[in-house]
Amino acid sequence: MTRVSMQVDGVTYTDEVEPRTLLVHHLREALGKVGTVVGCDTSNCGACTVHLDGQAVKSCTVLAVQADGAEVTTIEGIAAPDGTLHPVQKAFHEMHGLQCGYCTPGMIMASIDLLKENPDPSDTEVREGIEGNLCRCTGYQNIVRAVQQAAGELSGSAATPETTGAQA
């Protein structure tokens, strides 16, 4: 067992883990962060996407020990402390960018990452930006719309929503 310490959604957790523990299993099973889900074995589906030190990664393809000392943000940590939704969350709701919702946490986390890098993506750029996230329900069109709507809202506001959440 190895001792790991990480800040998840603004709270520091220290635990003993087996080195083979995947970050996503640590989040779900040790920390109760079940908002982040597992959809595949091969890093294809992106359902488990979280931010590791501010960058989107697939938490099923990161060992918990690798996140030692890191800041992790999950879908549960992006809304403001008062519950105000992150603009990307809000846009997914408004544009009907989800149906069953299983891919949604990963999709939202990947989209936030994309918008940090490209604040005004075209339709094609959004599609390529979320190519690592599979959705079986929506056909993606409303997800693309949602990301573009969120882009508009984010570029219009000075706040940096990623860090106004529980991480602050």
């Binding site: 080195p19 995947l22 074995d41 890093s43 697939k58 690798q66 390529e128 690592g132």
Partner: protein, 285 residues
């Protein structure tokens, strides 16, 4: 799935890494970004006893300018490669090919060196390293040595790395003169591996193609150079017909496999089309 249990070592210097590998027992595995390794371990297709994680070896990360070459640390992530100004300036082909690797999240973790050392014939970067005559700097118990890319890729998932050796950095010679580059990748869905891809760098001089370097992805158990096409292009007119004619020999000397996405003869056809397209684009035609 969950990987089988293993010992985990996290060195912070190359020296420590080499030592950790030496002490790691029979079945030690070096982990760079882990983006291919962890899935294979989750499927229990690999079950190493010890993992040596290079993620904290700071000296293996980053890009520096050494005059006639760039030196890219093996642990430089794909995302860093894509946004690195030195690479954009002197090794654009590396950046262009890296942009096609997997997806955004995978590129955040996956590394340049990891992709080369894994030597997946469907991986995009080995052919680029080969086309650019990169040199791979390897550290082992006996010190460091440099392996040219042409000798590094030995077989399917097999490289010239000896037991106990770690790939530390990659020297990519700068392209001097009027070079154009193109990575032409062919796959069925966006995040998939290449069915076939062609990395081309072309130097033009006075309306002619002075030199072409062409690396082929997934046309055999290792990346290959399209030597016959390169020879045919050397001194050829920078014209579509000449390029098309030269591209017809792109499959010479290749031995592609057959799988779900393509049978060998189709790959042999594809590589000709993609070579023509890559060279045409690289030559600015």
């Amino acid at each position: 799935m969950i990987p089988a249990p293993f010992e985990y070592v996290r060195p912070t210097t190359v020296e420590e890494a080499v030592q950790a590998v030496a002490e790691g027992g029979e079945d030690v595995k070096i982990m760079a970004g882990g983006q291919s390794l962890i899935p294979v371990m989750r499927l229990r297709l690999a079950a190493p006893e010890t993992i040596v994680d290079l993620g904290r070896v700071a000296e293996m990360r980053g890009v520096r300018d050494e005059g006639d070459a760039l030196v890219i640390g093996a642990m430089t992530t794909h995302a860093e490669v894509i946004t690195d100004p030195l690479i954009a300036q002197h090794a654009k082909l590396v950046a262009e090919a890296t942009e096609t690797v997997a997806d955004r999240q995978t590129r955040r973790r996956g590394t340049f060196g990891g992709a080369l050392a894994h030597a997946d014939p469907a991986g995009d970067l080995p052919a680029v390293a080969l086309a650019l005559d990169a040199e791979l700097v390897v550290a082992g118990p006996g010190g460091r040595r440099t392996v040219p890319a042409s000798e590094f890729f030995v077989d399917y998932l097999t490289t010239a790395l000896e037991e106990g050796e770690v790939l530390v950095e990659i020297r990519v010679p700068k392209l001097a003169g009027d070079w154009g580059v193109r990575y032409e990748k062919f796959n069925r869905v966006a995040q998939a591996w290449s069915i076939v891809a062609v990395a081309a760098a072309v130097r033009r001089e006075n309306g002619h193609i002075a030199e072409a370097r062409i690396g082929l992805t997934n046309m055999g158990p290792t990346p290959l150079r399209a030597s016959a096409t390169e020879a045919a292009l050397s001194g050829a007119a920078a014209a579509p017909d000449a390029v098309a004619s030269a591209a017809r020999s792109a499959a010479e000397g290749t031995s592609p496999s057959s799988d779900l996405n393509a049978q060998a003869d189709y790959r042999e056809h594809l590589v000709q089309v993609l070579t023509r397209r890559a060279v045409t684009a690289a030559a600015g035609l």
